[in-house]
Point group: C2
Chain length 338, copies 2
C-alpha cells in the first residue's frame, strides 16, 4: 500500500538516485574494497559479523554523498575514499548497536547480527568498526574532517539516548522527535556531505552549503522512513510495516494522530505504545487513525519542506552533473514513499 | 585470603601508587573537572549513567600514566589534560560495554549501570563517551596521538571479540589468553603512556620506551587482576571472588590448572566452565585445584616477568621523580595480590 503524498511544485527533475550511483561508480568500487579490507581481522568473528551487515544490500547513500561532495569541488586526491568508508563504518556500527538497543530481529528482511551471533558480538564488532573508522580518518590527516566526524559520533549517540528517554512516552512533542532524528540520522548525512568540501579545500561557504544540504536531506530521509513504517512494503524497505509500532517508537505519524485525536483515541495510543498492546488488530486500528488524521501525508509534507531547504542550500554552489545528481537524490528520498 | 607471590629480587623501591598520585594531583584535578564537563549533556540520562561509573572510585591509573609520561619530558602545555581525559573515557566506554557483554551485575561492589538503566543506556552512553573522547583528541590536534589512540580503540574491541570467541573453551592456550589481555587491557595502557612523549615532542626512542612500559605494565596489571579473581577480597577489589569462574571466563590460573591436571580434573573444569556448573561448591573445588597446581603463584610469576620488562623499558629514559613514580607503579600493580 502507498501513502498519498503532497509533492509540492518544486520538483523539476527526475527523482532518482541513479545519476549519483553512475557518477560515483568507480569511487564506490574502491570504497567497497576498502570496506571489506578494513572489516577484516584475524579474529574470525569480526569479518563474519561485519560482512553480514555490509553485504545486506543497503544503498550506501552516505558514502556516495562524501564522494560526490568532494568531486563536485574538483577534488582529485585519495582522501575521500577513506572518509566515505569511515562514514559507512560509523553508520554500520550504529546499526549494530541499534539492533541490540531495539532488540530487533530483522533488518532489511534478514536476521539481524544479534539474532545470529548474539548481542555481545554486535556491541563489540560495532566498537571495532568505529575504531577502524577513526583510524582511516586519521590516515587522511585532516583535523577539520576529524572534528566534523568525531562530533557527529557524539551527537549520534546523544540522539540515540534521547530517543531512548522519550521512548514509549506519548507526550513526546514534534520538537522532541525532531531533535532525535536530527541527531541520530541527519547529523551523519551532514557530516558525510561536509567532509567532501573539507578535503577538497574549499571555502567555508561551500562547506556550510553541503553541511546544510546533508542535514536537511537526512531529516527528509528519516521522516519518509518513519512514514514508510506505517505504509511501506517489506520488499521495498526490508523492514516490516509496523515495526516501530510494535517497538513502541514515537515517530511523527503517531505524534500527529495522537495530538489530533479525541480522548478515546488518545487512550488507545497510550495503551498501544506505552502499554505494549501492539498486536496486529491494534496495528490496523493505529494505521486507520493515522490515515484519519493525515498522519502520513503530513509527515511527508514535513519531508518536502526539508527537501526544499536542502535544495536551496545547494543553490549557491557551482552547477554541473554532480550538483544535479545531488538534487535528484532529494526527490528520490522523498518519493520512496509513493 | 592472599596468594603466595614469588616477587623475585628486582624490587628495590616501595610498591606504591602514592608518589604518582601526589605528582599528578593538580593535573588530575583538572582531568576530573574535564571528565564531569565532557560527560555532560542536555540529555539527562547521559550524565546520570556516566557519573555512576565515573564516580565509582576507580584509581584512574590510565590518565595518571598520560600525565606522567608527558610531564617527565618537560611538557608544559595543556594537551595532556585532554588526552588523559580521552584515555579515561575510552576506558569507561569499554567498561559500560563490557558489563553488557558479560551480563555483569556488580562492578567495584556497586550495581552496574546496565542493572540500573538497562543494557540500552549502557551501550549508547558508552558510544557517547567514545565520541567525546575522539572530539577531545581532535582538539589537541596531534595526528600522531590520534593515530595511537584510534588504533588502540580498534585493538581493544578486537581483543574483546577474541575473548568472546575463546569464552568457555577449555582448550584456550596461554598464548590465546595473552593475545586477549594484550589487546583488551595492555593496548590502552600502552597508548596512555605513549601519547605523553608524543605531545611533549620527544624522539621516537622515548615514545617507544613509554609504549613498551605501558604495554608490559598493562599485561602485569591484568594478570594480577585475574589472579585476584581467585584469591581477592571484595573490599580490596570491588568484585567478588569467583566472578570470572561464574562467567566461564578462561584466565591464566584456570588454563594452568586445567593443562596441568589429570583427566578427572579436566572433566571437572569442562563441566564447570563449558557446562556452567559454577556453584559455590565447585568454585571452592576450582580454587583448590588452582592452588594444587600453583595456578595463582605462577600467574603472578608471569606478571613479575612483564613487570621486569616494563622496568627495563624505562631504563633508558632520563631519571627523576616522575620516572621513580612510574617504577613504583609496577610493583604496586603486582603486589596488590598479596
Amino acid at each position: 500500500m502507498g501513502a498519498v503524498i503532497p509533492l509540492g511544485d518544486k520538483k523539476n527533475r527526475q527523482a532518482s538516485v541513479q545519476p549519483l550511483v553512475d557518477l560515483t561508480r568507480s569511487g564506490m568500487e574502491r570504497v567497497n574494497q576498502l570496506i571489506l579490507s578494513k572489516a577484516g581481522s584475524d579474529v574470525q568473528m569480526i569479518p563474519e559479523v561485519a560482512n553480514h551487515l555490509i553485504s545486506s544490500g543497503g544503498k550506501r547513500l552516505r558514502p556516495m554523498l562524501t564522494l560526490a561532495s568532494a568531486a563536485m569541488f574538483g577534488y582529485e586526491g585519495e582522501g575521500h575514499i577513506k572518509l566515505a568508508t569511515s562514514v559507512e563504518f560509523m553508520h554500520t556500527a550504529t546499526l549494530l548497536h541499534d539492533d541490540v538497543v531495539d532488540e530487533s530481529d530483522l533488518r532489511r528482511g534478514k536476521s539481524t547480527a544479534r539474532m545470529i551471533w548474539g548481542n555481545q558480538a554486535s556491541v563489540l564488532v560495532g566498537d571495532f568498526l568505529l575504531g577502524q573508522a577513526f583510524r582511516m580518518m586519521v590516515e587522511v590527516g585532516s583535523l577539520e574532517a576529524l572534528d566534523v566526524l568525531s562530533s557527529a559520533a557524539s551527537v549520534i549517540a546523544e540522539g540515540e539516548v534521547l530517543q531512548l528517554s522519550v521512548a514509549k512516552n506519548m507526550e513526546t512533542t514534534e520538537d522532541d522527535y525532531q531533535s532525535v532524528i536530527r541527531a541520530k540520522t541527519a547529523a551523519l548525512f551532514a557530516a558525510a556531505a561536509e567532509v567532501g568540501p573539507i578535503v577538497a579545500g574549499t571555502d567555508k561557504a561551500a562547506r556550510n552549503a553541503l553541511k546544510s544540504y546533508g542535514m536537511n536531506l537526512g531529516l527528509a530521509f528519516q521522516l519518509v522512513d518513519d512514514a514508510l513504517d506505517y505504509g511501506g512494503k517489506v520488499a521495498d524497505l526490508g523492514k516490516n510495516t509496523g515495526d516501530d509500532f510494535r517497538e513502541g517508537k514515537i515517530t511523527l505519524p503517531v505524534i500527529l494522530a495522537y495530538r489530533r485525536g479525541n480522548e478515546a483515541e488518545r487512550t488507545f495510543w497510550r495503551e498501544a505504545i506505552e502499554g505494549g498492546k501492539s498486536d496486529d488488530a491494534n496495528l490496523e486500528k493505529a494505521m486507520g487513525l493515522i490515515t484519519k488524521y493525515n498522519g502520513l501525508s503530513d509527515t511527508v509534507a514535513r519531508a518536502v519542506h526539508y527537501g526544499d531547504v536542502a535544495r536551496d542550500a545547494l543553490a549557491s554552489v557551482p552547477g554541473g552533473e554532480w550538483k544535479d545528481a545531488l538534487m535528484d537524490v532529494i526527490d528520490f528520498c522523498i518519493e520512496r514513499v509513493s
